[in-house]
Amino acid sequence: MRRLNKLGRIDRSQPIAFTFDGKTMTGFRGDSLASAMLANDVTIVGRSFKYHRPRGIYSAGPEEPNALVTIGTGGRREPNLPATTVELADGLVAESQNRWPSLKFDVQSINSWFSPFLAAGFYYKTFMGPTRRSWMFYEHFIRKAAGLGRAGQEPDPDRYEVRHLFADVAVVGAGPAGLAAALAAAEAGAKVVLVEQDFLAGGYLLSEPSAGQAGAWLAGMLARLADMPNVSLMTRTIAFGAYDGNVLGLLERHNSSSVDPRQGEARQTLGLLRAKSIVYCTGSIERPLTFANNDRPGIMLASAARTYLNRYGVLAGKRVLVAADNDSAYSAAIDLAAAGAQVTIADSRAQPGPQLLEQARRGGIAVRATSMIAKAIGGHNVRAVVLIEPRGKTTLECDLIGVSGGWSPTVHLTSHLGIKPVYREDIRAFVPGKLGAGQFVAGAVTGSFTTEAAVDDGHRAGNEAFAFCDAARSSQAQVKFDLPKINAKLGVIGDDGNSGLRPKPPLSPAFSTQTNEGVGGKMNLAKGKAFVDLQMDVTVSDIALAHQEGYQSVEHLKRYTTLGMGTDQGKTSNFYALSAMAGLRGMAIPDVGTTTFRPPFTPVAVGALAGLSHGHHYKPFRRTPMHDWHVSNDAEMLETGLWMRPWFYHASSRDVNEAYVAEMRNVREAAGLMDISTLGKIAVQGPDAAEFLDRVYVNGFAKLPVGRARYGVMLRDDGIVFDDGTTTRVGDQHFFMTTSTARAADVMSRLEFLLDTAWPDLRVSVSSVSDEWAAMSVAGPKSRDILAAAFPDLDVSNDALPHMGLLEGRYRDRPLRIIRLSFSGERAYEIYAGASVGKEAWCRLIDAGTPFGLKPYGIEALGALRVEKGHVAGPEIDGRTTLDDLGLRRMAGKSSGFVGEVLGRRQAFSDPERPRLVGLRCVEDGRRLRGGAILFRPNEPVQGHGLGRITSTTYSPTLDAWVGLGLLATSAAQEGAEFIAHYPLKGEAVRARVVSPTFLDPKGDWFHG
């Protein structure tokens, strides 16, 4: 066991059982999965992406490239999780990945043998023959080999939520800088949200010995913040992305104490934090070193070794080599030595500072200057290391190598909004560029690596952030408070007297001091792969090859080698790759540039982004007031837009094709009742309402008498038909407009647009009243009788209520409007009742109408009835047709001035080949027409786009024939001409004759009578 019985922030009284690859192990409350696995002597955690090399635990944080595991079982499986970020929970089941049959013996590790042929981009150069579909053959195997974990096909059983949060000041990262910033802003009076990805606040302070001064300072700060009602500390919460408008995307994890969430408990919650100002205290990430076999289990970041020791009480190795080019790794070495390890430091610098050396000496550590690792030795765990030094090569036995190539500020979030990081030569690192308004940085992310500086910096940034979001209050009182002091004794004292987090600048770019594998084609020193991107298996020689082949821009490098494309987004590899390419090209690092950092900072589950918006909650349903009646009367419901509408009623037939014909027949022979509440309805009011309608419709409304309705057509500005509907003048200055169901919102917005932007001088008010009215249509020869029976107080005679007439009344003390309109060609009435009593009105009509044969009908029959009557609808008003195309030009009889008029006369719109509306009648017995059939002349070659198409069809029980509407080239569209309707999907070719689109009652006697 590597677990010590002292040190750490784990609770040794609370053991936690978990399994890894089926083997039961025990950790403690406060462990990460990685620390618990290390404590259980697990060295190999998975196999690598390309070469299937054994990999262990490399870091102690979200930068982990290696230790990816699958957590959970069944629908709860989650692949590719870094064990370093998984909080240990009771019953947790972890599995290694990308190995078969077992982690220790993996068949595909044979890939390593072929690795000479698997260099960067090899797949672009082969698999192209022998035939043009060969790739599909190779791809099958390549796909199987690629990918890391396996995803289930079952639905995710877990629950996710999305919530909206607000803050004056958001602070990202609860390390020393973040804690200080939060306290400063909170003391000043700001509402503060402090976000920490870990399950404990403290950042790097957690890696300091817990009994020391860091622990006390941290505890003090947390206690103060906990007492402040205006501070919310969110641990287990990652700020994964920075978005416009100072919006942070947060991901909160919940399942801390148990593996599976309780019933109804969210596994993760997406938080959308809208902050007036943001302080980024995102810290820094240690850089690895590059040498042969630098991926072997037992090699990890020096800071990680320190974290496992001080935070988790796990001594990751007994014979430790710490390799570094900077001061900070000494603190790891000293702590490891103090815990009983035998430690050697290989420092690539010629003269580490005397204070450092003194500290090391006192800790019993051997320091070898001008010493670099050439190669690690060992398979499943490192056994020894070969150092190159001025005197030559030396081999040292060891079971742990801690590496440190300096520190990279975590600039990801500050770059998400397109602010390029800026390179600082003095610290050889990128720091955030100039951020936008309301965004501040503090601590190690700025490139100042000492704890004291972080605290002071955080304090300053917290005050500035508060001042930004509340300038008024801030100027009144720049709140002074006693920030707990943290003195310079923290960590190892470097030669400049500062604490140990500061890396000394390397003597030369990192790659050249620590690269033994070929840069610029010079291979050798040591055989073995030197990895730059551990997760994507990108090696130093891959970078050299990319350079050799001309993939030299940073983006080309990334894309050609797949560098940085893994789940860790290259958090540990980017800088090295950049400096390597700079070296190869002989350029300075900033001239090579940097890749763009993209959200999310760490991967975010798709489900968390969706929250509860899936399944039947994906989009809200719109229900008409009569919805429940339809459902309880066995209607087959169909979605149109968000509305649920009756498609047909099962009482008519179980089969839609039989049902709609039965429902049509009933309308033509007796009467039918249809729920048309989904129509858009708009109240247009004001002294200029009529003038306004004259402008938006192609036809005139100014002279429409009060109490009368008129069919109207609107165009888009480009002259294409936008929508149609009827508008009724319910008062001198008050019109009641209806629109199609589909276009309701667009029409409303368009009317408001015209009034607000183009014609603000018109005194017109428009209001959506779609939801105000339950609407139903009674159609059929018996409709008047039914109406009279249902509303005996109203005079619905032909004189009192003629076609296109309006009757207003009250129903159950709610407004009632009856407008005599016909879509079906039958005598028909649209009844508008207050929505709150819509269902009662509907039932009353059903009750009154049943003796007359009234039955409900659905939208399938509605569509068929209107086809029989030759009314255009959605399939014809398809966003490409003009007034002329639809035979509606005669409506535009006005002198001028309607929307779309000018562009509606564009040249192509009068092209003789342009399709226009026709009626079609099937002339073959026993066969049918279908919408979507393409029309050709008989004997014409059947290819191309034809002369037109059928848009809508129906069987007409009245004519006992299949009829349809179509759009057919004007030059060909003579009545009586015959065409073949081709429907290749069914291999059909059916003869159809061009007829008038009005199949029934051309004079309109039925609806006028």
Binding site: G264, E265, S613, P620, F621, W643, R763, S770, G834, S836
Partner: protein, 172 residues
């Protein structure tokens, strides 16, 4: 901290609500408001979202030139000079959902983008809820009214109920 479901519940009541809308013409707003104010109880709310409550009449400004009179009973008859503006009864199209409970903030932050802490009692905010426009009116420390389009109301209630299940675990 609420502990468990018994405390952490949320009451949802649904009722109809009379709304009368008043629109003033751009060039006649001062006269329009002077004309209307006494008939709606005296003062009119000046800012969008503000409310006045006088003589049992709750008035909210919905847009710069638009006011809503919210009433539980039948709306009063008020004539508007057509030269000044117009009125429209909107009592049928919206459902008033009365939400109350200790958990209200946690429910609302999963429904709407509204900073509940800075919303004053008597203040209204028009906002999208699951992409549906609603009017949220804060009526107390743990209470609000949501005016939702009638056609969407049931779906929104289902959403609130779903959200509330989760809140039982997290507590306020």
């Amino acid at each position: 901290m609420a502990n468990g479901s018994e405390q952490a519940n949320l009451g949802i009541a649904s009722q109809d609500c009379g709304i009368v809308q008043f629109d003033g013409w751009d060039d006649a707003m001062a006269r329009f408001e002077a004309d209307l104010a006494p008939r709606l109880g005296g003062q009119l709310p000046t800012k969008v979202g503000d409310t006045t409550y006088q003589d049992g009449k709750l008035v909210i400004r919905i847009a710069p030139r638009r006011l809503w009179l919210l009433c539980d009973g039948p709306p009063p008859a008020i004539d508007i000079d057509p030269e000044l503006g117009c009125m429209l009864a909107l009592g049928e199209g919206r459902v008033r959902l009365r939400l109350s409970g200790q958990n209200i903030k946690h429910v609302l932050e999963r429904c709407v983008v509204v900073d509940w802490d800075s919303l004053q009692e008597g203040e209204g905010v028009q906002v999208g809820f699951h992409r549906v426009p609603v009017l949220l009116l804060r009526t107390g420390p743990f209470e609000c009214d949501l005016f939702a389009p009638r056609s969407f109301a049931r779906s929104l209630v289902e959403w609130i109920s779903e959200v509330e299940i989760g809140c039982r675990h997290t507590g306020p």
